[in-house]
Symmetry: C2
Subunit: 211 residues, 2 copies
C-alpha cells in the first residue's frame, strides 16, 4: 500500500513536468486500488483481533496498523487530488514555480517511505528523522507560497494557475503531515510512549504500556 | 471530544466576524486539550482490547472508536488552523467573502455533530445524511473560490487576504471530509458493510462481518 501511494506521487509529478494528462488520469484512477487495500488490511486486522486476541506489543502493532492504513489511504487521496490539478494545469501554458513541485514531492515521498520502513523494522531513529524533515517541507511550502503570491500580484493572468500550483504544494505538505503522523505512531508503538502530542513544556504524555 | 471540536469551529468564526484575536488565540490553544483527549481514548480502547477481548459488534465499536478519534483530532487541528488564519486576517481590513465562512462552518459543524450522533445511536439514516451534505459543502467551497478569484483579479491588494479566506474555506471543506469519513465508518460498524469505498459501478465492497 505504501509502495503504491509513493508511486502515485511520483507519477503525478512526471505527469506535471512532462505534461502527460494520460498519466495524470491513471493516478486519479489508482486511488480505487489503494482504497481497496485499506479495506483488506482493516479486515485482516479485525480477524486477528477477534481470533487470536493478541496482547502487549502485538496488540499495539495491530491497532496501529488499523490507524496507519487510514493515513496511507488519505495520502492516496492527496495524490489523486494532485493528479486532478495536473489535468487542469496541462490545459494552460506552464508557470515557472512548477519546478519546485518535484523537489517537494521527493521530500514527501521519502518521508512516507522512511515512516513505513520505521514501522516494519521498529526503528525509532528512522521515525524521528521523518518528524524532523517535516519542518523542511513546511518551510518549502511557505517559500513556494510567497513566490506564487508575487506571480499573482505581477499579472492577473497568473492567478488561476498559481492557485492550482499552490494546491499541489499544499497537498504535498499534507502528505508530509501524514508521514509525520505515521512516524509518531511508530515511536508510540515501539516505546509505549506517545510523542504524538507533546505538552508545551516538552514533556511526553505517557500512554498505554504493555498490559 | 466532538463537543469540544465543534465549539472550536464556532469560536473561530466568532473570532473572524467580531475580529476578536484573543478568542482566535484561545481556539489555537484548545488544540492541546483535544490532543490529550485522543490519547485518553486510545488508551481506554487498548485496555479494553487487551483485558476484555471483545468480539463481534463490540470489537467493531472499539476499533472504530480508535479510528474516529484520529479524525476528531484532525478536525481540532483544522479549527486551530482557522484560528491562525483569523489572527492574520484581523490585522487587515475585512474582505466581503468573510460572510460566507460562518455559513460553511455551520454546515461543517452540523455534519460533525450528526456523524457522532449516528455513531452513538447507531443510526444509519443519520450517517447517510451526513454523506449527502458533503456535496453541498464542496459546492459552497467552489463558489467561494470563484468569488475569491474575481476579487484577486480585480485588485492585487485583495490577493493576500483572499488567499487567507480561501484557506479557511478549504479547512472547513476538509472538516466536512472528516465528518464524511466518520459517517462512512459508522455505517460500516452498524451494517458490517463498508460504504467507504464504493466501486465505480456502485457495488459495495463487503468487509468484515461478525466473527
Amino acid at each position: 500500500m505504501g509502495a503504491r501511494v509513493e508511486e502515485m506521487i511520483a507519477d503525478s509529478m512526471r505527469a506535471l513536468v512532462e505534461r502527460d494528462s494520460e498519466l495524470a488520469r491513471r493516478v486519479v484512477d489508482s486511488d480505487q486500488f489503494v482504497n481497496r487495500l485499506e479495506l483488506e488490511v482493516d479486515d485482516a486486522c479485525m480477524r486477528i483481533l477477534a481470533r487470536r486476541q493478541p496482547v502487549a506489543s502485538d496488540l499495539r502493532f495491530i491497532t496501529l496498523a488499523l490507524k496507519i492504513v487510514t493515513d496511507l489511504e488519505r495520502i492516496g487521496d492527496l495524490a489523486a487530488n494532485i493528479g486532478e490539478r495536473v489535468l487542469e494545469l496541462n490545459e494552460e501554458p506552464p508557470l515557472k514555480p512548477y519546478l519546485d513541485m518535484p523537489r517537494m514531492a521527493d521530500t514527501a515521498r521519502g518521508m512516507v517511505r522512511n515512516a513505513l520502513d520505521a514501522f516494519v523494522s521498529r526503528d525509532v531513529a528512522c521515525a524521528q528523522m521523518v518528524i524532523e524533515r517535516d519542518g523542511e517541507l513546511d518551510a518549502h511550502y511557505a517559500d513556494v507560497f510567497r513566490v506564487l503570491l508575487t506571480y499573482m500580484m505581477e499579472d492577473p493572468r497568473n492567478i488561476y494557475r498559481a492557485t492550482r500550483v499552490q494546491s499541489i504544494a499544499k497537498y504535498l505538505e499534507r502528505v508530509g503531515d501524514h508521514a509525520t503522523n505515521l512516524a509518531e505512531m511508530v515511536i508510540f508503538m515501539i516505546g509505549g510512549k506517545d510523542v504524538r502530542h507533546l505538552t508545551s513544556s516538552g514533556a511526553v504524555v505517557s500512554a498505554v504500556r504493555d498490559e
